[in-house]
Symmetry: C2
Subunit: 365 residues, 2 copies
């Protein structure tokens, strides 16, 4: 247990080049390698350390197990004017989801909104990468994905849902866009890991024990417990977090032909995929909504600026902590880390170094 | 304070006829009166007592104040193939929202999905009424609305958002549809009212005091406090509930040209509308998504049945309480209340009787 992990700070472009070399090594095309690296780096730049290069070796292990196809033939298997379903051919979600989002944006330009369900895919990194693509076109972006079952619905002992995130990216005028990117559990797994490293207890309401009891042990999940839905318990509305996680699962999994609920294949390669699966891989659901389909873009952006200003200036409980606009902290991280580089904890540096040794790749560490 | 309120049970059709007569009295057309009564009755039948005929006199008082137009000229003011924006002309949300949902369904039939932002409207009853309309056409229905500011964002002393509900209605095969209809606050106002009537404390995490402190006083909201976002506090993810409430506000208010945030006009007629509003009335956002746009309808419904069965049979923490499918309790209420009538507490009966006396209307009480 490392109480004060050491950090090493790496320039984001060096880290990107290293990630590209890893994806190329496993057989991805040059373009796909760059795309996948960009998705991971966006997480590191935005301060979502759990979803960046810290996961690189996780993707590699899934490839080693034959669960990721480095040269997928991504196909549109069904479509209408505003909708499509894509089969990701077991490709990296980091590559499949951006393709799907391109299609959603194209459809959105054509008829006001575009919606793409993606099946037979893998973990797609941070939802915000995909949703934020829409912003360049004055569109609102939307991204959902299901994930390895870790969350117990209200009243359940069993893990039935992933942390199933929901993301909305909404353009503004003079301010940064509003980006809501949230797990539908009360705490993301990344936060648990931080508590585990510090050997610190976690708040009541993050996890339950194997028997469904209350615990503040940060290792509760490893001991067979489960994450709790947003709301934490029935009294405080955990059935709502469960409902949102269910919605994400149904849109991402059931609508797309992917797996759903407890059948979603685990991200960690040491857990086997279950037999007799109802679908293929895991699934995403992506959307692009033309602001211009509803409102003058200028009027909308002016009112978004007014919205942001009014919420920033809401009377705070403590003068020292103002109300935060969703996406504001991540945008601040991004500015700092583009300039100063990305701090990686020692465990991640060692993991990436090992990868570079195994694959005989140059590395910046 | 009434500890054991008496109930009177009224046949739903009698209650519907009474509601129709009230809407006719204030000047609504025959069709609009029936529609508005149907929306209210659906809440009573589904067991959402706070949103049914208990609110009838509230709508009347808004009409008396000149804030509701009984003969609105509902207009489409902008549209694309898959989107539209509607101006509700200050009509009852109970009438405007169903019209908007019809348009969303029509667009959805035509191009896979239909999305309608509604501005210049009023309270639209339960979100589920509108979203569930899509089910008849093998569509997934979606409904959002903003509402009177009662919820304080994380770190805010001020009330900035309504309880801003999110509703998804998803068709299944042999089972009832999955209907997720949830406020984005940790507790709905209706639940507070029940605690107030019982003079009982509420769980920590429902409300904060006027200064932003913790309280379990059910009257905390009346004393100037605020409801808390889903998640209850920062540690347990209240920034996520705040983010969801913000999303609902932006789609319903900013996109439609309605008011948003703290400017949303209050439902209670004794509070005045603020000066210098940025928009008109309050807003909704409605959607209809063709299942067939993504998947064979039969395959989807079979997999939804599998989803429902698997979740119903998740291993429960206590054998006596199985996992609940979203919408299941409301569907059970509906069966019972169609057969046995709708129980109204004495305060509501007295309120409706007074209405019948004032307007010289026949009544079933």
């Amino acid at each position: 247990m490392q109480l004060n992990p050491n950090y090493q700070t790496i320039a984001s472009n060096d880290l990107r080049q290293f990630a590209i070399s890893v994806f190329k090594y496993i057989g991805c095309s040059d373009l796909d390698s760059e795309l996948a690296a960009d998705v991971l780096l966006k997480a590191d730049l935005r301060g979502i350390d759990s979803h960046g290069v810290a996961r690189l070796s996780g993707y590699v292990r899934l490839w080693e197990k034959g669960r990721i196809n480095a040269k997928p033939n991504v196909k549109v298997i069904r479509q209408t004017t505003s909708t499509a379903t894509i089969d990701g051919d077991a490709g990296l979600g980091l590559v499949v989801a951006p393709r799907a989002m391109e299609l959603a944006i194209e459809k959105g330009k054509n008829c006001g909104t575009g919606w793409v369900a993606v099946g037979n895919s893998n973990h797609f990194g941070i939802a915000a990468y995909h949703a934020m693509k829409a912003l360049e076109f004055d569109m609102i972006g939307y991204a959902l994905t299901n994930a390895s079952p870790l969350v117990a619905p209200t009243f359940s002992k069993e893990r039935m849902l992933g942390t199933n995130p929901i993301c909305y990216a909404i353009p503004a005028g003079m301010y940064e866009p509003v980006v809501i990117d949230m797990a539908t559990s009360s705490a993301a797994n990344g936060k648990l890991e931080i508590a585990q490293r510090k050997n610190a207890p976690v708040p009541e309401g993050w996890i339950q024990t194997k028997l469904g009891g209350i615990t503040t042990d940060a290792n509760g999940l490893k001991l067979g417990g489960a994450l709790l839905p947003l709301g934490s318990d029935k009294d405080r509305g955990s059935h709502k977090g469960y409902g949102l996680g269910a919605m994400v699962d149904i849109f991402s999994g059931v609508l797309s032909g992917a797996n759903f609920g407890p059948w979603v294949p685990p991200f960690v390669s040491f857990l086997d995929v279950q037999p007799n699966l109802p679908g293929k891989g895991l699934g995403h659901f992506l959307g692009a909504i033309q602001v211009d389909g509803f409102s003058d873009v200028d009027i909308f952006k002016n009112n978004m600026d007014l919205w942001i200003e009014r919420f920033k200036n809401a009377e705070p409980i403590n003068e020292s902590q103002k109300v935060i606009i969703p996406g504001e902290p991540e945008a601040q991280f991004m500015k700092i880390r583009i300039a100063d580089g990305i701090p990686l904890i020692d465990a991640v540096v060692q993991d990436l170094k090992q990868l570079s040794i195994n694959f005989k790749l140059e590395h910046p560490f």
